[in-house]
């Protein structure tokens, strides 16, 4: 798999623009690697995480120079950082509080550790331009008062955070499109958030995969999470790139419900910020 590629091959597949910047800084790619691997904390971090796109993104930030990261990239990565700080601190606190029963601990420590890795990646990519983490109120001003003592509440809030995280990353893809290595890195996080969301949704239904709430995917704009209707608003959209997917004839036949499940929908930054603002202390 590409994720196991040696860093040399990974860099050969790098964005030509970034490769060009690297080549102006060092004599050869091989010496760039040598210098990078020896001197760069962020590249080393990325390598330990073990993903070629992540290594590329970390290297890209060095190639751009952290003070020369394009403003749009800084904006999007800091936006992602707030979401990842929220998630990582939520799971750190929840696991520490003992709200997760032993049988499910592996699920939530896995997710927690992924979110911690996402935070580390984003902070490394942003360098000095990373914003400090906000302070959080995980009860969302009392809406989820028992979030760290009632496992059902904890799982419900987890699901809403993950499904919303998927929508948040998806909404930023167009903004990152000119910065191909950063776009790719963001997408490799985006799909992991979707894996988390699917696992928690299924867990909430004890892995019986019952619709509409406890399958891995989102049916229409439906949710049983209290106060989270806005997090799912618009998930029932059926028009994609100008094609209304409900007007097509499918073989075998498919109902509207499955059509809506087959596509996840983006949210804008302002929509997401409004949704998570109750979690800011």
């Amino acid at each position: 798999m590409d994720s196991q590629l040696p860093i040399l091959r990974a860099l050969e597949a790098s964005d030509p623009e970034v490769a060009g910047r690297i080549s102006t800084q060092v004599v050869s790619r091989r010496s760039a690697l040598k210098a990078g691997a020896g001197a760069s904390a962020s590249l080393g971090m990325a390598l330990r995480i073990g993903s070629a796109p992540v290594a590329l993104a970390a290297f890209a930030s060095e190639a751009f120079g952290q003070t020369r990261l394009p403003a749009v990239v800084v904006n999007v990565l800091n936006y992602a950082l707030v979401l990842e700080e929220l998630e990582s601190r939520f799971y750190i606190a929840g696991v520490a509080a003992g709200v997760v029963p032993a049988a499910d601990l592996t699920i939530f420590t896995t997710i927690r550790d992924h979110e911690i890795a996402h935070v580390a990646f984003l902070r490394n990519a942003l360098g000095a331009q990373a914003r400090p983490s906000p302070m959080f109120d995980f009860t969302a001003k009392g809406a989820y008062a028992d979030v760290f003592s009632n496992y059902n509440t904890f799982k419900a809030v987890s699901q809403a955070l993950e499904d919303t995280g998927v929508r948040a990353y998806k909404g930023q893809a167009p903004a990152l499109r000119p910065y191909k290595d950063i776009l790719t890195a963001a997408l490799t996080i985006h799909s992991v958030e979707a894996r988390h969301a699917a696992e928690i949704r299924r867990l909430r239904g004890n892995f019986e995969d019952t619709e509409p709430f406890f399958e891995g995917w989102i049916t229409e704009a439906q949710t049983d999470v209290p106060g989270a209707a806005g997090n799912y608003a618009g998930e029932d959209n059926t028009v994609h790139a100008g094609v209304d997917a409900t007007t097509l004839s499918y073989t075998p036949a498919v109902t509207r419900k499955e059509v809506t499940e087959a596509f996840d929908e983006p949210l804008t930054q302002s929509q997401v910020i409004a949704l998570i603002t109750p979690f800011f202390a």
Binding site: M1, D2, S3, D15, I49, S51, P53, V54, A103, D104, I107, T110, I111, D113, H114, A117, H118, F121, V166, A173, D181, L183, T184, A185, L187, T188, I189, H190, S191, V192, E193, A194, R195, H196, A198, F207, D209, E211, E215, G216, W217, H240, A241, G242, V243, A245, T247, L248, Y250, T251, V254, T255, E258, V259, E261, A262, F263, D264, E265, P266
Partner: protein, 237 residues
């Protein structure tokens, strides 16, 4: 017509292809081409800016040009054809209801429906630029075996996620990039569900890494090739 580009030379067919086609409803792939095209004629709005097919189709060889957005979508269309055909065959197998408990049947039927939607949606979005219907070769899969099906499903879903993640950077149009994003997260949801079902729902299998792979089209097509009769390659990657 697209159908004329399907190459069913007897030397190329898996022995069980005819049975497979019947089971999968894939004899209908050719019919689907017609029905979707007529669906377009009935008023599906074509995205602006689509050109005639960019892919080179010569005999059983299809070359996708990744400098063209339509061929990035054709790449997705090829993979969705593969996935849809796989799950259609899974659910149609006579042993389906005995090999899988009820909850797993629900899950697999849903995934089949999603992949059929992805396939037929992409075909409609591509319109005349779509590559021909592909002929799957599932001779290595035992469809009556839960383990064989779930292992293959895991391979296909993880491959699909890595394919979309790796191909997004070739897209020049924001609306196509967004569509790819709408689909890839659903593939990731499938991957998580299949992985949990196969390897243990209360393990970390649903997301084996903090960062998913983003594989190159060349890597993905090499992995997918054994399951497709036609030969698909990528240029400008």
């Amino acid at each position: 017509m697209e159908t004329s580009q399907q190459h069913d030379g007897p030397g190329r067919e898996p022995a069980s292809r005819r049975d497979f086609l019947r089971a999968a409803g894939l004899a209908g792939v050719t019919l689907t081409v017609g029905s979707v095209l007529s669906g377009c004629a009935e008023g599906v709005t074509q995205p602006a800016g689509l050109v005639a097919r960019a892919a080179t189709v010569s005999g059983n060889n299809i070359t996708l040009d990744f400098s063209q957005d339509v061929d990035v979508l054709n790449y997705a269309y090829a993979l969705e054809q593969l996935e849809a055909a796989f799950y259609v065959t899974v659910v149609a197998n006579a042993a389906f209801t005995s090999a899988f408990p009820a909850n797993e049947q629900r899950m697999l039927r849903d995934i089949r429906d999603h992949e059929v939607v992805h396939r037929d949606f992409l075909k409609a979005a591509l319109g005349p630029a779509a590559i021909p219907g592909l002929t799957p070769n599932f001779s290595s899969i035992t469809f009556s075996s839960r383990a064989s099906v779930l292992n293959t499903a895991q391979t296909f879903e993880d491959l699909g996620v890595s394919a979309y993640n790796g191909a997004a950077k070739y897209l020049k149009r924001n609306d196509y990039l967004t569509v790819a994003g709408k689909i890839v997260s659903v593939e990731a949801r499938h991957a998580a569900a299949i992985r949990g079902t196969l390897n243990g729902n209360r393990t970390g299998s649903f997301a084996p890494n903090a960062f998913d792979p983003a594989n190159s089209p060349t890597t993905v097509l090499m992995a997918a090739q054994p399951f497709i009769v036609q030969s698909i390659s990528a240029t400008n990657v």
